[in-house]
Symmetry: C2
Subunit: 208 residues, 2 copies
DNA sequence: AAGAATATAGACAACATACTCACATTTTTC
DNA sequence: GAAAAATGTGAGTATGTTGTCTATATTCTT
């Protein structure tokens, strides 16, 4: 006869009240991100996370009802970090080249936090519960930066939607590949990526 | 005192002799690729594969000593398929645009077989045993196509290595992203990807 | 300082997965 | 056509993972 909430275990089982427990939760999320980034979804076990965080498995389940909700928390935190980094790197009115440079710089910084976490969160980690919404929202806000750039710098107006998608996934691909081989900081790579963006947006292909 | 071979369980436990068993092995590999592509590395269990192949779990272990050797077989087969498709799509002397078109067409075909298998094999599936070598060999043969194109179509000679890597990972990124949202066959996407390649290789960025 | 609220620990139950083994069935060989 | 070789089977074992429960330790309130 209790007032059962629709999704009893959607977010957090118990709100941390004391400073001590807030630190515990923070440690768990941070350790979780680390394990997920280093070992991938398959190696992501709650016991390993608790171990890496220096807490017991019991403490973990005190705040996260299940594995998915923990991933959810990691996802939320990481996406927020990425978006804030990118957002501040690309705003205002700048020439194309400068925009590209700052975008690339922002992307690299965002991925330097946890080199492979981003890709793992996007591809491996399941997103069944309420994450579809968060995921989509992130993707759309993420695309906005590219869409704005495309609208601002491209001469042609057709297919702007597709162009933004192509550009963003191309940039992601390069960053991801570089992260995998630990070459995110290589300056030639940054330069070439900037050139790729500029070349595509200034539309040199149609003349040939 | 026996003559122990260095890697007793590296490849196959038993060679299939009759046609029946060859079909079994084939069915297992095919089913394995399917499961891996659909469910990812985390959902890739030997029981599911045996089930999907319509054989018993015992039969699977008759030919594959462990899970890794099965992944190895899947990897080998898929990479061979991809390379052969790409190889025949990009050879001879063609204008840049035509090369780009055929490359894109080839990549899309290669990934249409099992949309996400490629990425799963590259990122998720572990490659501990002898796979590092096969993996590196594939990557290098894979890059060769891009390097050849870069050398042939670019005016500048500097940083050709980096340019090839940037180009290949950009193309991979776009293809991968399209595969994830089931848009591999969208014609605007193909067109835009071709334009991206042409724009970058014909080097329009430096003039701005 | 004592009792209530909060936090942590780790043994344990329930379940999933990789892989084995003793035996059944089919094909080949003579 | 019978013995031998090859192939196929699936319950069973060992191991690891998720998530629970209860006992204990720490912090807050008054």
């Amino acid at each position: 006869m209790s007032t059962r909430i629709a999704k009893p275990r959607s977010r957090m089982r118990k709100q941390p009240r004391q400073a001590r427990s807030r630190a515990t939760v923070e440690a768990i999320i941070e350790a979780g991100a680390h394990v997920l980034s280093a070992l991938g979804w398959a190696g992501f076990t709650t016991n390993k996370v608790a171990d890496a965080a220096g807490v017991s498995i019991g403490s973990l389940y005190q705040y996260f009802p299940d594995k998915l909700s923990l991933v959810e928390a990691i996802r939320r935190r990481h996406f927020d970090q990425v978006l804030s980094v990118i957002a501040e790197s690309a705003e205002g009115d700048k020439p194309l080249k400068r925009f590209a440079q700052e975008l690339v710089r922002g992307m690299i910084e965002a991925h330097s936090i946890h080199p492979t976490l981003h890709q793992v969160l996007l591809d491996e980690a399941p997103g069944d519960r309420g994450s579809r919404a968060a995921h989509a929202s992130f993707q759309s806000r993420y695309l906005d930066h590219y869409t704005a750039a495309v609208a601002q710098y491209r001469r042609r107006r057709k297919d702007n939607e597709t162009v933004a998608r192509v550009l963003s996934s191309a940039v992601e691909g390069v960053i991801h590949n570089a992260a995998r081989r630990d070459m995110l900081e290589a300056p030639e790579l940054q330069k070439q990526l900037v050139e790729l963006i500029c070349a595509y947006l200034s539309g040199a292909g149609r003349s040939v």
